[in-house]
């Protein structure tokens, strides 16, 4: 265990992380942009309109991946938080905190595209149904984590306090996910499976596959980028930061 920790601390040391992030961020975004382009093309032009919902069903191709990400990112944040709290690894604190704004962005997209989609299909922008409500609560939780992190002066203490909140808040994730099963709601139940038999036709499924990959790659890119900026800001007095800055400035 101890050796593992040591290894983690070494490869995860601030200068190493900076190099790592600088190296991989462009790749992650490259993958994201390409798959997104393909996926969006498929969604907008290649797939035929749905016989029930018409054109508006194309919103699915962004709504669903972003909705999945909104939950996934919170889980990642909670896992990083555990590591940050138990082993006090600095990079994990940064990564956990960098998750919050990305996750909040995905949650916001889910909420907005969902309500835009709701207007033509349900006839209203918003209702207080369990899934929508719990997703809104998820946004509040993200905002809360960001707010707490911003409100505390000492960066490391702030990260630990906010990580604790993320841990407490993670109970909301299963609520969002299972809301459609536990209560009867307006919102669609689980219909889509990327692996195995799905209730959706495969010919309509493939753009979704691309946008799902795109959202994952985007998350990685954005996470690295944010964590790198935070890392550099906190270490700005150190020598390596000056040298690293000299390299590409």
């Amino acid at each position: 265990m101890n050796r593992l920790l040591l290894w983690f601390n070494q490869t995860g040391s601030p200068p190493n992380f900076d190099r790592f992030a600088a190296r991989w961020t462009p790749w992650a975004f490259a993958v994201a942009f390409v798959t997104m382009a393909v996926g969006v093309y498929g969604a907008l032009y290649s797939v035929p309109a749905d016989y029930q919902q018409g054109e508006s069903f194309r919103i699915l191709y962004i709504h669903v991946p972003c909705a999945w990400m909104s939950l996934f990112v919170f889980v990642v944040m909670a896992m990083q938080s555990v590591i940050a709290l138990v082993w006090r690894i600095k990079i994990c604190e940064l990564l956990a905190m960098a998750c919050a704004p990305v996750g909040a962005a995905f949650t916001l997209i889910t909420l907005l595209t969902g309500s835009i989609w709701g207007k033509p299909t349900w006839g209203t922008w918003w209702t207080w149904d369990p899934r929508l409500t719990s997703e809104l609560v998820l946004l509040f939780l993200y905002v809360g984590v960001m707010g707490l992190y911003a409100a505390i002066e000492d960066r490391r203490a702030a990260a630990r306090a906010a990580a604790f909140l993320a841990l407490v808040g993670v109970v909301n994730v299963p609520i969002v996910h299972f809301a459609v099963n536990w209560w009867n709601t307006l919102h669609q139940g689980s219909t889509i499976r990327l692996i195995g038999p799905s209730k959706m036709d495969t010919s309509m499924l493939w753009p979704l596959l691309f946008t799902v990959i795109a959202s994952k790659a985007w998350f990685i890119g954005s996470l690295l980028q944010r964590a790198r900026a935070m890392n550099l800001e906190q270490e700005s007095a150190k020598d390596w930061a000056r040298e690293a800055d000299g390299d590409d400035a």
């Binding site: 508006s56 919103i59 962004i62 704004p101 962005a105 997209i109 989609w117 954005s222 800001e233 930061a241």
Partner: protein, 47 residues
């Protein structure tokens, strides 16, 4: 007509992701400038 909804949601997504992409880059640039200014001040003080 429902194209409006599709366009709106794609636009919203583009805006939010654009913010998500740009804001850390702006922050990185700001941090870099601060580091450089500080380094310059330090060298000035030493010399």
């Amino acid at each position: 007509m429902s194209n409006v909804y599709v366009a709106a949601s794609f636009a919203v997504t583009a805006i939010i992701l654009g913010w998500d992409y740009l804001s850390p880059q702006l922050k990185l640039r700001r941090v870099r400038r601060a580091i450089r200014l500080r380094a310059r001040r330090d060298t000035n003080r030493k010399s």
